[in-house]
Symmetry: C2
Subunit: 468 residues, 2 copies
Amino acid sequence: MSALIERIRAAVGTAGLITAPDELAPYATDWRKRFFGRPLAVVRPASTAEVAQVVRACAEARTGVVPQGGNTGLCGAATPDASGSQIVLNLSRMNRVRAVDVRNNTMTAEAGCVLASLQKAAEDAGRLLPLSLAAEGSCEIGGNLSTNAGGTAVLRYGNARELVLGLEVVLPSGEIWDGLRGLRKDNTGYDLKQLFIGAEGTLGVITAAVLKLFPLPRSRATAVAALQSPEKALVLLERALDACGERLTGFELFSDFCLSLVLKHFRDAAAPFPRRFPYYGLMELSDTRPGEGAGTLVESVLEAALEDKTVIDAAIAQSDAQAQAFWKLREFVSEAQAHEGPNIKHDVSIPISGIAEFIAATDAELLRAYPGIRMVTFGHLGDGNLHYNVSPPDGGVPEAFMRELGAVNRIVHDAVARFGGSISAEHGLGQLKRGEILRYKSAIEIELMRSIKRTLDPHGIMNPGKVL
Amino acid sequence: MSALIERIRAAVGTAGLITAPDELAPYATDWRKRFFGRPLAVVRPASTAEVAQVVRACAEARTGVVPQGGNTGLCGAATPDASGSQIVLNLSRMNRVRAVDVRNNTMTAEAGCVLASLQKAAEDAGRLLPLSLAAEGSCEIGGNLSTNAGGTAVLRYGNARELVLGLEVVLPSGEIWDGLRGLRKDNTGYDLKQLFIGAEGTLGVITAAVLKLFPLPRSRATAVAALQSPEKALVLLERALDACGERLTGFELFSDFCLSLVLKHFRDAAAPFPRRFPYYGLMELSDTRPGEGAGTLVESVLEAALEDKTVIDAAIAQSDAQAQAFWKLREFVSEAQAHEGPNIKHDVSIPISGIAEFIAATDAELLRAYPGIRMVTFGHLGDGNLHYNVSPPDGGVPEAFMRELGAVNRIVHDAVARFGGSISAEHGLGQLKRGEILRYKSAIEIELMRSIKRTLDPHGIMNPGKVL
């Protein structure tokens, strides 16, 4: 193996190569600390040409390459296996914004750019990069694209996939595919970039991308609605879309148990209403027009919904601070649940029309199997995406419940399949759900995926053991 | 070959099979009458299962299959070759809307549904299917997706690709891939549907799709601005986007020569202003809110642009009839140019920021090479998409000019490549640009496309001689 290491060192220099065991550690484990790998080395190239040389060397040595960005993924896609034979290819040093074309509404950024820094660069140019998610302060755009990240503005702007116009990719052979086009329309053959987006590094290494930018919103309105049930949330969502169109940037749902966890574990958090209600819907509108338009609009939607009892109570944020406070009630759910101890997570999507029925049916089935368990139901309702998590019964033994993980997954994922949904809405498969997905995809689909993998990566060096 | 025909007859019945030479004719030629093929037979299956049986039979007989929808394509992708050995697989009998899920904002439609009928079905359900193009009265959704159609609302809603959530495809083996998911988020492996969208039938036959629907607009505003140059059009576009955001549904450009052709060949057409100007920009805003908001907004954008001379004059439509009259000035350009005699067409895209410079440089280069020729410059400026057509000099011999087609293409397409553009923005490659594209794509990209083609269609039966 040392011949490979020497070849990599010649390509990336000493600054780009880590082999000391204690320095490898941060790159060898995922963010949730569920997967522990042992890499042969961590390679940190500074340019596309260096990435190409490293991948070519690994291809010739038949050595596995695990691409890694900010290492914030939730499914272990960026963690090497424990064999000590795989290279972690960390892209963080490739962090240049190559170009911002204001009039074309595009930005060309390298894979290692931290998402928040790209949001900032766009704003400095008077534009919006709408991709936004909890990890934005440390996740990197290459990882966002490789996992087709979702986040809080998908309802209006789409997933990461929809924000990409062009890609630069180092192929498993070490060749560079320059597909960095900044075009809204290009019908000259197969849309190759789509293969690499969401492929979790199994088909090549994304080294740079051309991203779409949007006009900056000049006004916002944020509101929380108190709801009797998910069904009422769907009615409100439908009306809000109908009335607000693209102004509706986000529509989130969380249950009262979610709220109670946030209130328990975050002292600064405040309940939005003096009373408590079964569910809450968080709506955000934004508009390129300044002024009160968005506020007036959300008010009229909520007034009508209060009148006919779709909504039990409603609060519109009166300041940016209050808007942020409302968002925290939703955004802190995951962390609050973690403070509560171990739990079983799901990241599912369902056709939006079926969500209320899905929640009712799955809640009932789980409670029959595990009396007393507590559902932590929240998510991006506007996208049909639920983080449908399950905590053990109050006072129960968490370890005993966690041993049921497979059985709980089975109940939830089988229900998802019955409702025509997906068992990974926005987090990907990685190594976490690689086996699970085989139960839910047709043999034809799995074979199509495998045949593409074999074609692009005949030696199987790109992120082995992930996705497929 | 008669064994194959008998097998197909057994699959689709007499109603689904055409072999009489005079009945074959309408299916053997493209809409522009530039390609003349001779099919072995035209097969018109009525179900996905029938399509699968036909494709399987053709795969076993190694017989080429040419998928065809409404046969309105502009690059000959749906026209068989002249060998008499290929099957035209016409999908027009598969024209059922399988489902409209109002709350999920989706519609599941078979490939043979005429686009206008789907727009109508969406509207009947209180929703908008935003795909809209000149051929919508006869083009079919399977063809729209296979060519990733563009049209007049791409600025706001994206190309056909962006409107698809799921697909059903008969693979070149005759197997059926059921990817008819109605999910906004699904990160469970490679996004296979993207392969078939825009592949012009070379990787399989799209038999049905789940399409996104949107809230119905309740108000519109349409305006024409008189402009000194394409550069001024870009300034206006940037301001309109900044002020109007997603309300800006379309932004079209056409030159005064385009207007003169429309006025000459369409008696009903009226010039938008008493005077004439070098260029015109057509803007359309739409909004889910009823009332005057869109009108007020376009007025304020135009007032500011008049004040600082970005715009020389402006007219806002005062009625639906006037809005339609404005649109006709843009939409009739192509037909008006056809009345004028033969011309050389281009369907190109450029990063929007480079369009004014592209037009100036390419106009100059063409006029140096062919003094007196007349540029018919129009298109979807908001998408960076120009239909940059060239008519022979006034009084010149059209046939002589048309012999220069290859040389004119070369000047225009080389300029497109210098500006980082695409030689087929929205019409595809088909058989028309299959050779031309080899000059402009890298060897790596062509080989990636070919390797995918070989993998999915190892016997090369799907639409042979198209795209690749």
